[in-house]
């Protein structure tokens, strides 16, 4: 059984495309809430693949990735909402958001990228917290971010007169807002998959992998490790910025709460749990970690009722408990992730002997 070959064949691609198109309509049978969950799953696929460039390819442990997402989200929120009375178009905001996130990546990366792995982790983590604290407090003396209340009434994505919010009739079908976002997000996700794939097998991608494997040897063959690490960092950050912008538009509301450390950790968990550096694995990880908590949210309460006839434990904490246990168990029994690249799998089996 080889998924890789299947997905590369014409029949495979056609099946996959049909599935992707049908999915939001199937999900809608369970209510638009499920379509929204689907949207988030794809958004996280996008984010996780952005982080995969940094962590999976270049081997840089970034625990503050959410900061770049926040930069993108607030850029959109400030430039397209009544907060400042600005309503700029998408083709202006999205590049600005990506650019600012990229700049933030370079500003953080240039002084810190010489640090060893775990030190880099804590510095990026600290950076993420700094960004969040600023978002929380930059409402005085000048009200920039509106503090903990966040920014509301953010413009949805629109191309000319075509709005992504509200229901539209397309070819006789009623397509809801979340369904439209779904297709936008799938398009973006496909784009980032292609970028990931092409980078992986390129001169730059190989240099990143070399740095990940052995930095000194990489330098010795003439790789400018500093610049390349910075490049990985900046690219990952830009993807975060784009995702943030879409998030802002889709939600219509942002507040600092959405950008806490746990979010950074979540995205990292998607990358590692799925299979670091292996694109299908990362996608699987992102989808699973977005959908699983939601399934638990809807499933845990009724299940308790059915089993015990009463609520024994608060469903919210039970759901997170199961989620935490799932992380631990997957790492215990699949240390390289649920769907690691074939090479990594082989490597682990060999060291396991």
């Amino acid at each position: 059984m080889n998924f890789g070959h299947f997905f590369r064949s014409t029949v495979g691609i056609a099946t996959l495309a049909a599935l992707l198109v049908a999915l939001p309509f199937v999900a809608a049978m369970g209510g638009q809430a499920w379509v929204r969950i689907l949207d988030f799953a794809i958004l996280y696929v996008f984010l996780a693949l952005g982080l995969n460039i940094v962590v999976g390819l270049a081997g840089l442990l970034d625990l503050g990735y959410i900061a770049f997402y926040a930069v993108g989200a607030y850029t959109w929120a400030l430039l397209a909402s009544p907060h400042f009375g600005l309503h700029w178009p998408i083709w202006a905001i999205l590049p600005i958001g990506a650019g600012l996130a990229c700049l933030a990546g370079v500003v953080l990366g240039s002084p810190t990228l010489k640090l060893r792995g775990d030190y880099l982790a804590i510095v990026t983590l600290g950076f993420g917290e700094i960004v969040r604290i600023f978002l929380n407090n930059l409402n005085a003396p000048f009200n920039i971010t509106n503090g903990p209340q966040g920014i509301t009434l953010i413009d949805p994505v629109s191309f000319g007169a075509f709005q992504f919010s509200g229901t539209t009739q397309i070819l006789g079908f009623a397509v809801s807002g979340p369904q439209k976002y779904y297709f936008l997000l799938v398009a973006l996700a496909i784009l980032v998959v292609i970028i990931n794939l092409r980078l992986q097998n390129s001169r730059i991608g190989r240099a990143w992998q070399a740095i990940r494997e052995d930095e000194i040897a990489a330098k010795a063959i003439g790789i400018n490790t500093r610049n390349l690490k910075l490049l990985a960092f900046a690219m990952g950050a830009s993807f975060g910025g784009v995702a943030g912008g879409i998030f802002s538009a889709m939600q219509g509301f942002v507040s600092p709460e959405s950008f806490s450390l746990i979010e950074s950790i979540m995205i990292l968990a998607m990358v590692v749990l799925g299979g670091m550096g292996h694109i299908p694995g990362v996608i699987l990880g992102a989808v699973l970690l977005t959908v699983l908590p939601e399934v638990l949210r809807y499933g845990v309460g009724p299940l308790q009722m059915a089993l015990f006839g009463k609520m024994l434990a608060d469903p919210e904490s039970l759901r997170m408990l199961v989620f935490g246990l799932a992380l631990v168990l997957v790492m215990r029994f699949k240390p390289a992730g649920l769907w690691p690249s074939p090479e990594r799998q082989r490597e682990l089996q060999e060291t396991g002997k």
Binding site: P111, I122, V123, I133, N137, A269, V272, M331
Partner: protein
Amino acid sequence: MDIFLQQIVNGLVQGSIYALVALGYTMVYGIMGLINFAHGEVVMIGTLVTITVAGTLIKAGMPVAVAGLAGMMAAVLVCMALGWALERVAYRPLRNAPRLTPLITAIGMSIVLQNLAMMVWGRNYLTFPSFLPNMDFELAGAHFTAIQVIIVLVSAATMGALLLLVYRTKLGMAMRATAQNPAVASLMGVNINRVIAAAFVIGSALGAVAGVMVGAYYEIAHYQMGFMLGLKAFTAAVLGGIGNLAGAMLGGILLGIIEALGAGYIGDLTGGFLGSHYQDIFAFVVLIVVLMFKPSGLFGEKSGDRA
């Protein structure tokens, strides 16, 4: 000028707590290179166990001081068991796994412990029984309470005991040897499993003591309190040079003082632009600046690039 002295006192107290928690991170990291993200939750559980045990005993009519000590003993024992179990169940099977695997496990355990605590103790703030009369001392314009004095003294004593253990006992020698080179240490007959388990158990005991003191200091506790505390303490450990015991202690105290001074003066420094609610960023700003100039922390050994 008295605000300066006052903030030094406050910083020293908070810093002693950071130092105790930081030791737990640094011992585990020094020996096995793992960031034990769940350590903050161990501290939190220490606080909550104390509340339950001491609260019950006080209700049963036991003298407050005795109940407090009993609560602390219970917390230390529970946390030691928890630390041991964490290592045995979650981390030991992953000794040879890829580098990021145990990190995700640690995050998973952190989520598990937090939510277990929420199920047991609920999602509301709990009040910590006050063990000590509200005494207030004054020295050169700085005020301090009995609990502040006790926190600094207990931390100092605990850290002294740890240093004795690490530098004067056979177990301590085994721990230092394992930190240097696990393979060689095990060839020399050191039982690596025992050493690692010991690092977890001792670190958790220190965490429990810290947890009791946080509770006694702020008189309030919550199932989410471990997270930020753990983060700060880990920052302190890195600041001092992770893996280095003295570094964790000094890093903790330094961080506490910097935070206190920062919170006291940030308004003046920025002309009122930034207020004291920016307190939490000091830890991270200082960390980033220090690591830019000293990539292995203030007291860390230089990690030489070997060719």
